[in-house]
Amino acid sequence: MTYYLAVFMPLLGAFIAGFFGRAIGDRGAHIVTCLGVGIAALCSIPIFSEVALGGKDQVLPVATWLTSGTFEANWALRFDTLSSVMVMTVTCVSTLIHIYAVGYMHHDDSQPRFMAYLSLFTFAMLMLVTADNLVQLFFGWEGVGVVSYLLIGFWFKKPSACAAAIKAFVVNRVGDFGFLLGIFGVFVLFDAVNFDVIFQAAPAKADASVHFFSRDWHAMTIICLLLFVGAMGKSAQLFLHTWLPDAMEGPTPVSALIHAATMVTAGVFLVARMSPLFELAPDALTVVTLIGASTAFFAATIGCVQNDIKRIIAYSTCSQLGYMFFACGVSAYQAGIFHLMTHAWFKALLFLSAGSVIHAMSEEQDIRKMGGIWKKIPFTYTVMWIGSLALAGIPFFAGYYSKDMILEAAYGAGSPAGRFAFVLGLAAAFMTAFYSWRLLFLTFHGKPRADHHTMEHVHESPLIMTIPLGGLALGALFAGFLGHDVFVGEGRAEFWREAIGTTAGHDVIEAAHHVPGWVVASPLVVSFSGILLAYFLYIRRTDLPAKIAGAFPGVYQFLLNKWYFDEVYDFIFTKNVFRFGKWFWKGGDTYIIDGFGPDGLSSLIARAAKRLGAVQSGYLYHYAFAMIVGIAAFVTWFVAGGAG
């Protein structure tokens, strides 16, 4: 029962708030949705202890869904360690964010709609992580995509929000296309989409090949690469990352829940879930490593120069997702999921603190217009510190355990791609620390740069917002410490069991525990240097940053404009698609289909009607003439035609 409750209570809450929001009012919508996810979160804890710690994996049937020939996909809830970790993370973080949203959105006109979307998102995410087969996973995958679209465009009167929502949806479609092809490929290869069946049959198909474009390809590599394309879209990896920063147009709780803590990590979850297949495709894993490492580095460079508080954190998310991917890429899936879990806490915390800052600064998001407010909002200031410390991987905060583990695993993997990832990851760790403290110093320290009026209104957020912040801060403080033993430590084999597929004799985590001392120390060193550099530039010598930017205008502009990805995409794809679409619209639809179809016919009939009306002259002899002509025509027809 608790299992079903954990998944379906958010749906119930969303249903009530969504369809009866007007009847039950704002307050009612808050209560039902928070209660729904709250119950789910409470259920998730016994589930976690029973499944992950107690070792009782189970698959609970819900209903038959699709059956067609050999194709079969049913609704079922699969609970193993991987999904119970995800369920617990999602429901707990979601509950705190729901509560926060009650306070954050209290000025808004359509709160029931907002709360319903949040709960619906939670349900879709739970469907995704508890999926028993690829098709159900895809259902959840698309479900979170839709709600993400709806929530990015929640303030649909803002053109920029609508554009961002469409962008997110379209870019995700590109990834989804790859994902779909991957699912098709799995079905072709295994004749099934059910995880148990696939994973059991996988070793036998390790060397299967497909013939395509007059060449034989390694089937498993193709499938894994296609699935990874889907993951790249959802998790905003390099080349398909452009939607995530724009998605910050949505309300801040959305950014925290969907675009930091949960949905964007679905790609990582997918790779971990499909790890038995990925393990059989080393080339695909190399690609995952390279893309992940590049993303971690690339996003961090951009994060260093952005000025919008939410965008900085968004690029930070993008970068952290890169870490998770290259962890998976070097077969350290456990470390990837561990980082996913800790990241959910501290990144949600950072976003919600940012929301609290924005709230305090009268909706200002530009950190250049903040400064000197730490005394006025001490609580937000404190939790933001905690979040940043966790993000930078300072010892004993959550990120320390997971991020260091990833870097050690990358080094310990021993492969060239692993070394590449280690180097880029180290560089990214330096920049992460730098931009996090740049954000902290610019936002809270120095002279106030906001106008007098705004400064007077700076106030700490109400309790309903600070309590969730406190909860998340606890997670950011302790999640790593509590989890590291079972996730990546001695207890890992007993904890994960079958949930993660690893190749025998290739235990990267084990190798990570035996890396040289300098490898263990280096992340700490770079993080501290990053913090110190930020301190030097933004507290001691505040004149320097502008000078540095002036000295390297090319680099600065390149970074500020996000490596010109949007411009290049716009030039190559968007413009041409628009041109193509316009051609179809004007030429194909308006001219041919409308012209000869509805419009053409109706104008033809209107003209014919006028013509026929003119025949009706009113003159008797015309009428008689028509009759005679008619009868003459009939007679002629019969006489000339011989009439059968």
């Binding site: 009939i605 026929l612 009306g613 008797l620 028509a626 008619g630 009868i631 009939f634 019969f638 009439a643």
Partner: protein, 480 residues
């Protein structure tokens, strides 16, 4: 000394004839205006005639040396005609008093026209056919120009008369050709002669074409329809209502009788003509109506279109087709009467209006009338759950079962075009800015409007007995 013919089958007609003459006497010798009284008496006479039909012989009975026939088909058609005529008369009475042009001859003429129609339906000989037809037509010519101080009414009467005479000439000429070939005017004799002829003579085919043309004029099928819009517009509105129902039923029944009776063996020949007429009528009725601004002219084209659909039932030449056509006529009669009741309620400050744009916004000002007309228009367009849908359904199905799919498809396409102008009325009523509100309708008109609208729903949901009646009637015809 020949024996007296059996009069029992003809009791309803004999009674109507006597009643008509008696009413005329009452009208002449009564000094006061007796239009109202005579109307009620005429309606009562029609009711008695209907009772006589129902209680009289049902099975195939022939009398007057085989010139007059009664069977379940004639019973169905006569009852429908009487119903249409009686309701029309009721509408006429309410209207002439409002317009202050009441004359006692009016109900009497309607009664004689109805008598002619019953005669047509029972005709089993070219001679009795012609006599019945002329009795009806002469009465109708007079009715068309009844409002004799009105230029358009008299014009309508003259046009109808001249063209009607031409049509009668065509019919007579055709009859003479047929007689020349068959050597008899009796339908039974002609049927035998046609069936025994190894190959049909071109003369008889030309004769049939002329007869069909004459009858097509009476049902206002294209290309013999040209009188319809002018007469419908010119004649006083309730008389237009009468024109659009009772004579149509009688003439279409006659059409069926003639083609299914003496000319049934020549189905290969006349079928093509009927298909062609049907196609033309559906198409013309649908397209030409689009440009109309006067609602009576619109109804003229609408009725041309409806005749086209009904003729599909005739064109397929099967019992099922005939059943479809009879059911179609049943629905058509009440659908049209309801619509004309609405048109008769279009009065602004005591003055009758008949422009389509006068309906603007009555959805707000006269919601009752608007909802009735909207439902009737949906029925006309053939949208379920209204009876108009079933009417079209049965004729189209008959055509498809007989392998005449293109005819059914064309009918469907034409009904799409027709739906445009029916729905345009709905749009004008509900979405255009309100103009002057209409006066509340009088009791009779309001009652007929309501009853016919409700009937459209009843006929849809309780169609079985009516379809069954049409089926019994259709079986009496000699289609295979």
């Amino acid at each position: 000394m020949s024996t007296m013919p059996d009069l029992v089958p003809a009791y309803p007609e004999i009674f109507l004839a006597l009643a008509g003459m008696a009413l005329l006497m009452i009208g002449v010798f009564r000094t006061k205006d007796s239009t109202g009284l005579l109307t009620w008496l005429a309606v009562a006479a029609m009711g008695v005639a209907a009772l006589l039909i129902v209680n009289g012989p049902q099975g195939p009975v022939k009398t007057f040396s085989g010139m007059f026939v009664v069977n379940s088909f004639t019973v169905f058609a006569k009852l429908l005609t009487l119903a249409g005529a009686a309701v029309s008369l009721w509408l006429i009475n309410a209207w002439v008093h409002k317009e202050q042009i009441a004359r006692f001859e009016l109900p009497v003429i309607v009664l004689f026209a109805t008598l002619g129609m019953l005669m047509m339906i029972s005709a089993n000989d070219l001679i009795s056919l012609y006599v019945g037809l002329e009795l009806q037509s002469l009465a109708l010519y007079v009715l068309a120009s009844y409002h004799r101080n009105n230029l358009r009414s008299t014009e309508a009467g003259v046009k109808y008369f001249v063209l009607g005479a031409l049509a009668s000439g065509l019919l007579l000429y055709g009859s003479s050709l047929v007689y020349g070939f068959g050597g008899t005017t009796s339908f039974d004799g002609l049927a035998t002669a046609m069936a025994s002829a190894p190959q049909s003579h071109v003369g008889v085919i030309i004769g049939i074409v002329f007869v069909i043309s004459g009858l097509a004029f009476k049902v206002s099928a294209v290309p013999f329809h040209m009188w319809t819009p002018d007469v419908y517009e010119g004649a006083p509105t309730p008389i237009t209502a009468f024109f659009s129902v009772a004579p149509k039923v009688a003439a279409l029944s006659l059409f069926l009788q003639v083609l299914a009776g003496p000319f049934a063996p020549l189905i290969g020949q006349w079928q093509q003509v009927i298909v062609f007429i049907s196609l033309l009528s559906m198409g013309w009725g649908a397209v030409a109506a689009v440009a109309q601004t006067n609602i009576k002219r619109l109804m003229a084209y609408s009725s041309i279109g409806h005749v086209g659909y009904a003729l599909i039932g005739l064109a397929v030449g099967t019992t099922e087709g005939a059943r479809g056509m009879l059911f179609y006529m049943l629905i058509y009669v009440f659908m049209n009467l309801g619509t004309f009741a609405v048109i008769l309620s279009m009065r602004v400050k005591g003055r009758a209006v008949e422009d389509i744009k006068d309906l603007s916004g009555i959805g707000k000002t006269n919601p009752g009338i608007a909802i009735a007309l909207a439902l009737l228009m949906f029925s006309m367009a053939g949208i379920p759950p209204l009876a108009g849908f079933l009417g079209k359904y049965f004729v189209f199905m008959a055509a498809i079962k007989a392998g005449m799919v293109p005819l059914a498809v064309f009918g469907l396409l034409a009904s799409v075009v027709a739906a445009f102008y029916y729905w345009r009325l709905v749009k004008i009523m509900y979405f255009d800015a309100p103009a002057d509100a209409f006066d509340p309708p009088d009791t009779a008109t309001g009652f007929i409007m309501t009853a016919c609208t409700v009937l459209m729903l009843v006929l849809f949901f309780e169609s079985a007995p009516f379809v069954g009646g049409a089926e019994t009637a259709a079986k009496a015809l000699s289609f295979g």
